[in-house]
């Protein structure tokens, strides 16, 4: 079973300095779940209303795809250096 990402590290380094940010995704996940549960009646109604036009199906597919993409991000690492500038993103 795939495990969701737990931590995201973002680091941006410029010529005049930079900053690093640790995002505890494992803390954000329960929060996102609560928001999703609270909004689920609205999402359900919107999906039912938009279903005949085709957008409901598309929206539900997009939501599922977004969750799947988020779940698959574990292990992603982007590290780009250009001269003295640096951008680094890693998901663990």
């Amino acid at each position: 079973m795939k495990r969701p990402p737990t931590l995201m590290h973002l680091r941006i380094q410029g010529e005049r300095g930079g900053f690093g940010l640790w995002l505890p995704l494992f803390l954000l996940l329960p929060l996102a779940l609560v928001v999703f549960i609270l909004l689920s009646p609205l999402i359900l109604v919107a999906t039912i209303i938009l279903w005949p036009s085709g957008w409901g199906k598309r929206a539900s597919f997009s939501l599922r795809a977004a969750i799947e993409i988020f779940w698959s991000m574990r292990g992603l690492s982007i590290d780009i250096h250009s001269g003295h500038q640096c951008v680094s993103i890693s998901v663990a």
Binding site: K2, R58, F61, S62, A65, E68, I69, W71, S72, M73, R74, G75, L76, S77, I78, D79, I80, H81, S82, G83, H84
Partner: protein
């Protein structure tokens, strides 16, 4: 039975070689085939474990020493590629036509509409064999590979 083994047995039958020689030759062939088989299995296992697509750009040593160099190191999980490819079905038909036209202009005869979820696994499997290694005129080394 391989051709080599048959030939050895024929030579033994015609008394061109002794039984000991035939045994030694057959053992040597079996050893070689065993090694090839285990090497093939190891290669398949390595390919089966392909988890990430890597893209690296390494500068030439001279510009690395001077500090004014570009360096790229990207690691994309295969599962993310798999999930991303599924999103192609969300591309609006107008955009798909534009993509097809752009591909056709570049000499690539490929219709994005024909890409089905069943093809994704084949595509990921084909990626496992991918290895690109390019050295530019500036001495930069660009590598795209799967690990």
């Amino acid at each position: 039975m391989s051709d080599n083994k048959k030939r050895i047995l024929e030579m033994l039958a015609k008394n061109k070689i002794s039984a000991d020689d035939a045994y030694r030759l057959l053992s040597a062939i079996d050893g070689g085939e065993g090694r090839r088989e285990s090497a093939g299995k190891a290669e398949t296992a390595v390919k089966g474990k392909a988890k990430y697509l890597r893209v690296t750009v390494l500068p030439n040593p001279e510009s690395e020493r001077s500090g004014s160099c570009d360096r790229v190191n990207i690691r994309v999980p295969m599962s993310l590629i798999r999930a991303g490819i599924k999103l192609t079905s969300l591309i609006p038909s107008e955009a798909r036509d534009k993509v097809n036209l752009a591909l056709h202009e570049k000499g690539i005869d490929f219709d994005v509409r024909n890409m089905k979820p069943e093809d994704i696994e084949d595509l990921i499997g084909a990626l496992s064999d991918l290895e690109v290694d390019v050295v530019s005129s500036k001495g930069e080394n660009v590598r795209v590979f799967v690990e």
